[in-house]
């Protein structure tokens, strides 16, 4: 039996985000004229670091290894929720630090950091959500601040347009999702995932149509959050229009939040063994994974704008991560399923650092006002070699070359798919990954090979942005040998879901 004190201890990562948000409220109320925003960013970053430290300690201590249910099973704290909260904490901290320089000249700084920490709170709850009601509330808590964050540059047409698109697609898909939840509730009589799972057998016999449509709608809501086809339209515009640190936050943390809830809802709530006759979501995700990764990669290859390329590449990576769900065909036995799901978690984990870093580098270039196309990056390697080495690490790691942890996590994912009995899916992923080298290396080519059209004239080297970019790069590199710290956790966390 978990005591009251322990319950709060287990929720300490989420509490760290809440406390940071409340502290930002208070600071904004009493000292609204904090000019440079350093204090505000520090509070948000400390919140993120506290959340990642707390989840790291809880992970390593193993208290939640078997999963602890709280509030009558509405929330569950287990290896997976802690691993993902670790990601949210890291991304929040990186983004907060980088934002100091990025929004230095802009108004409403307190609101900006407040929205970031509130969204992070929603994400950490999503990671723990164990009932469909909590899933929906947490999803909204993480989404609503995100819409406002995208529109933060409210005098910028792209920012407002992206936010509006994001909001409209988001509102639609959450409407679809909540309707799907109501249908599932109608068919199974419960919102708790474990109860849904046990009522599934009877429900698929009695109300196959209601249940199937309900699940399909829930999957639609998840596809929106993970920026997967067919609810991916918002992503390129929102990421491109948003302030670059916000794009980093959304494409790394928000996407991971979508995946963690997808893993839990589908694997725990709708075990494929029972539901396959009603709606074979594994087959559905196989189609979605192939379409998402292929569409993301091919669209990324045609972009001229680096930020938009990264946005599409982020869709491509959503496709890779979907392999974790698409490979659960039960052809390779439960061990193989845990392997591929764990590999998917690991990939999202590494992705949190390398993708955040890449977007923060874009933030750095935007800060220098050099422009956004590949040509604008020409010759940057000579002017800012350290940052460009970091960016090289990010894009090569995203492409799956052995400069960072992205190499291992991506190949773990493909190997896991082979082991789970879907080698064709691994092959599609592998070919996509190799083709992605084409557009990722365009960034490298621009930075290091092409000469600049005119002198770039970089005068300032913003400390906070540099610190965030370099931290992300160092972590990405260290995750190549150091993935050993997290791989066991991820595979065990995946195994405990089945």
């Amino acid at each position: 039996m978990v005591t009251m004190a322990n319950e709060w201890l287990l929720l300490s990562p989420a509490a760290a985000f809440v406390l940071a948000a409340l502290a930002l409220f208070v600071i904004d109320a009493f000292a609204p004229e904090d000019a440079d925003g350093g204090l505000l960013a520090a509070v948000a970053a400390v919140g993120g670091i506290a959340a990642l430290s707390a989840s790291g300690v809880l992970l390593l201590s193993g208290v939640a290894a078997d999963g602890v249910e709280l509030f009558g099973g509405q929330l569950v704290v287990d290896g997976m929720s802690l691993l993902f909260t670790f990601i949210f904490g890291s991304v929040t901290a990186l983004v907060s630090v980088a934002s100091v320089d990025y929004i230095r000249e802009l108004p409403h700084k307190a609101e900006y950091y407040l929205l970031v920490t509130l969204a992070a709170t929603g994400m950490s709850l999503l990671a723990s959500a164990n009932s469909l009601a909590v899933v929906f509330v947490a999803l909204e808590l993480s989404s609503l601040p995100s819409y406002a964050l995208v529109a933060y540059l409210k005098r910028n047409r792209g920012s407002v347009e992206g936010a509006l698109k994001y909001f409209l697609v988001g509102a639609l898909s959450s409407g679809i999702m909540v309707y799907g939840i109501s249908l599932v509730y109608a068919a199974t009589g419960s919102l708790l995932l474990s109860d849904v799972a046990s009522a599934l057998g009877g429900a698929s016999a009695d109300y196959p149509g209601v249940l199937g449509v309900g699940l399909l709608m829930i999957v639609g809501g998840l596809a929106f959050k993970t920026a997967s086809v067919p609810f991916h339209f918002w992503a390129p515009d929102a990421y491109e229009g948003a302030p670059a640190p916000v794009a980093a936050f959304l494409s790394s943390a928000s996407k991971a939040a979508g995946f963690v809830v997808a893993f839990r809802v589908l694997v725990v709530g709708f075990p494929i063994g029972t539901i396959a006759g009603t709606l074979d979501w594994v087959l559905l995700f196989q189609v979605l994974a192939v379409v998402t990764m292929t569409l993301g990669n091919f669209a990324a290859a045609t972009q001229e704008n680096v930020k938009r390329m990264l946005a599409y590449s982020s869709i491509g990576h959503a496709g890779y991560a979907l392999i974790g769900l698409a490979a659960l065909t039960n052809a390779g036995g439960p061990g193989a399923e845990a392997t591929v799901l764990g590999a998917s978690m690991l990939h999202l984990f590494v992705y949190g650092f390398m993708n955040t870093g890449a977007f923060l580098f874009v933030a750095l270039v935007e800060h220098w006002e050099l422009g956004r196309t590949f040509e604008d990056y020409n010759g940057l390697g000579r002017e800012a070699p350290v940052a460009c080495v970091a960016m090289t690490v990010f894009v090569f790691s995203l492409a799956g070359l052995p400069v960072g942890g992205g190499f291992l996590s991506k190949y773990f994912l493909f190997a896991g798919a082979v082991g789970a009995g879907v080698p064709w899916l691994a092959l599609v992923g592998a070919v996509n990954s190799a083709l992605s080298l084409y557009y990722y290396s365009r960034v490298v080519k621009a930075m290091w090979i092409e000469p600049p059209a005119e002198p770039l004239g970089i005068e300032r080297y913003p400390t906070a942005l540099y610190a965030a970019v370099l931290t992300a790069a160092v972590v990405t590199v260290l995750l190549l040998p150091g993935l050993v710290v997290f791989d066991g956790i991820a595979f065990e966390a995946a195994a405990s879901l089945f």
């Binding site: 390779g332 193989a336 082991g419 070919v431 595979f491």
Partner: protein, 515 residues
Amino acid sequence: MLIEALVVSCLLGAAIVFFTPDRYAPKLAFGLSVPPLVLSLYAYVAFDGSGNALLGGEIAYETFAEWLQLGPYAVNYHVGLDGISLPLVVLSTVLTTLSILSAWTPIDDRQSEFYGLVLLLEGSLIGVFAALDFLLWFVFWEAVLIPMYLLIGVWGGPRRKYAAIKFFVYTNIASLVMFVGFFALIFGLGDAVSSTGMPAIAEALRAGQLGYLGTPTVGVPPDTLAIAAFLAMFVGFAVKVPVVPFHTWLPDAHVEAPTPASVLLAGVLLKMGTYALLRFNFTMLPEQAATLAVPIAAIAVISIIYGALLALAQQDLKRVVAYSSVSSMGYVILGLVAYTVYGVGGATFQMVAHGLISGLLFMTVGVFYNATHTRMIGDMSGLASKMPATATVFVAGAFGYMGLPLMAGFMAELFVFIGAFESTVLPAAPVFTAIAMFGIVIVAGYLLWAMQRSLFGPFELETDYELGRAPVHDIAPIVTLVVLIVALGVAPDLIFEMIRDATLDVVEFGFGGGS
């Protein structure tokens, strides 16, 4: 710890050179390439391994440490050398040091980055040959691409960007297809292996423990799996080698690459492909190799003849050398598929010999180019009278290529032909061998023609540049290579003994015949 010292000294050297001003970078890089060279020579002298590293042999300089866990499989840090990998490690260090010397004249821009990348490349190459765990090996295998991409892309010729990206994407797709194929094998072995260690996998596969991929009801049966994986891996490595029809990236990459990068590309990078074929396809899946012996031998022979004919048709001296590599690599494949001690051993010997000879020819073409600023055979004539030392070396290298006795190329081809001729695995082996031998005639044809046109006759050159003797740091590496080629030709047992020792177990698989 020797291998770690080797790799770390390369990487450390690379890091130091990166942060050195351009002025000092060339000499410093040369100095920093000496410790790995000395270490590898020490490794050669003190070598105490025996047998094949994958098949229960005594592994030299072995290090083992636990690393990762990939689901049920342990991924370990496991490195070591045997008689196959050690000569290739020495080849890498020798060619790196010499190519750094040969870069002093042509590379006059962003030197510190150039030499840093060369040392980075050296470290990755050593890792490829030393790694004994699949995932660790794959880390190094892919790591090689990055410095080579940048070397071609930054310092290459006019079409360098196209050549670099073609090399990059083309070889990467191949690697990934191979990766999926190999992991299908690992998972097909099921509980028979508990790690991604190459020795364990090789022994389990040779012991016939391959099962279904997935469950027997919906999975892939072992026979289909083995053949499919063999093909996926063969294609993956064949692109790297390259053999016809996967060779189209090679002329582009070679022609556009700066000379020192060409030397490493032809000298060592191509050997990654043949080394991997030997280590994976031919060591781990001998039955499938025997089943597919005829098509593979056909590909080998086509590469030999077609590559040579392509070389014959070229006007650009560098393209001649580049296409002739396709031809030479065909001999390696032929030797491998023969499955005899001389065939497989000769193939390995040919890897080293071709590394030295093609390196020599690329460097010599580079020296001519430094002086004349053209590589077109039609544009030059009678260079021998102006650059006698370089011309002599070029002639020596060309004869080495043609298989002049007492040079390494002769011994390599002799071993391969003997091995292929007596093969019991390959049907109609004498026919394949005879056709392959005809390749030598074509090689002699194009090299003699190229030499005659460019070196001899009255001096004629359409250029504004003053022609003089090449500087010592250009001549020294090519002379060193000639010495090494002759040494291996006179005394092949310098390396053939250990190669033979390591390949013995590979061919002993029921059907392995010949002496």
